[in-house]
Amino acid sequence: MKKNISQTVFEKIDRDKITIRPKRYFVFCSIFWLFLGGLFFFLDSVLLSLCFYFSDKLKPMWVFINNPLALIPILIFFFFLLVIGSVLFVAFLYRKSRICCRHEDWMLWGSIVLGIFFLSFFAYSLGVFENTIFVKKGEELVNVKKYWSKPSFGTLSGKIDSIYFESKKMILRDWSGREWVVQVDGDLLRGRTYQQGEEIKIIGEKIAEETFFAKKVWSWR
């Protein structure tokens, strides 16, 4: 005679000594998932904050450089990181939202995503992550200096070595130590004061070997 399922399952439970998982197992699991959720929340906020930070650093390039499409790789890098972080966070919410609420609650999810956005924006505005390992590591990864040191691409950055107001020129030492003669538009010189040793970033045009014409100049920081 064919056994019914309940008999078969019970025999398996009995034979293999299968036991009910203790309640504390599920409590620990919930704590673990909530911790992981909190961690993703924090990391996503940091990541978005860094996106704001680095986007701001590179913002002048979008407008002024000859070929904005060349920035796509760096933008893709930002978005890639953010998408990865967000996907992980949403996956966590999808799998474990039951811990926080009974159903997949889009309102809760939306609130959390908005929370990440606002938290990261405030963190960026207040400069919470500046001078932290996140920014330092981010700068290493993104290599902002590299993007601001492409003369043929229209960018140059470094430290001012000397300024010659009469001839509207300055000598700039880039991050690799190479010297550049930078011809500065007269209006730019009148608009603000430059100091020897100041770190700057320039948008302009390479007009000759180690000679650069500046159209816009900003302080590096």
Binding site: I5, S6, V9, I13, I18, R21, R102, H103, E104, D105
Partner: protein, 204 residues
């Protein structure tokens, strides 16, 4: 060995939640719970996946084992049956994913009464005409619906689940379930019309 759960009559008197309390003291009580749901679960698996009876039984065994192991994870705020159906739903989908197949709803042909519940009309005069609708056409119409609509139609009409239970099984808010069911009814009515059956899908 078992004074409480040994008799089937004893089982029938107890609610699911009471039996769960007893299982923790005496695992044999789990048989009572399984016997109560095994047919329903096998039928549900077959309906949502169209697998053979043997495969459905294998999946059901895994489901009951999983339920037993995770019994302490059961949230008493839910109905046990909703939790069980939720696990069954996930296990069946996982089975199909493992086998690289797409789950296909399979409304079985022994559901005459349930199927007829889907279509009815407020006017008695037309009732006789409506009863002539064959299950074949109705099943065809259901199978033409999107999977998300098939699921709620199946749970609501064939499994007789309330909106709250469907919400618990599919982990969707109750409002979403209500909307899905209404849309499903509307689309079903359209499908039936296309099949030459000018019917009104009843509000249950």
């Amino acid at each position: 060995m078992n004074l409480v759960c040994g008799q089937k009559k004893e089982c029938k008197k107890k609610s699911d939640e009471e039996i769960i309390g007893l299982i923790k003291k005496n695992k044999q009580c789990y048989v009572c719970l399984m016997e109560r749901y095994e047919e329903k679960i096998i039928r549900y698996i077959k309906r949502i996946s169209g697998v053979s009876a043997e495969t459905a039984e294998d999946i059901a065994q895994n489901i009951f084992l999983k339920v037993y192991i995770n019994l302490n994870d059961f949230d008493p705020e839910l109905k046990f049956s909703s939790w069980l159906y939720r696990i069954a739903h996930n296990e069946t989908i996982n089975y199909w994913r493992r086998n690289n197949k797409k789950a296909k709803l399979n409304v079985s042909w022994d559901d005459n009464e349930a199927l007829q519940n889907i279509i009815k009309d407020e006017k008695n005069i037309e009732q006789e005409v409506y009863q002539k609708i064959t299950n074949e056409k109705l099943v065809k119409a259901i199978n033409q619906l999107d999977e998300k609509y098939q699921e709620v139609i199946l749970l609501n009409y064939l499994e007789g689940k309330s909106y709250q239970e469907i919400a618990d099984i599919l982990k969707k808010p109750m409002g979403t379930v209500g909307t899905l069911i209404n849309r499903a009814k509307f689309k079903l009515a359209e499908e039936l019309k296309d099949l030459g059956i000018n019917k009104q899908v009843a509000n249950k």
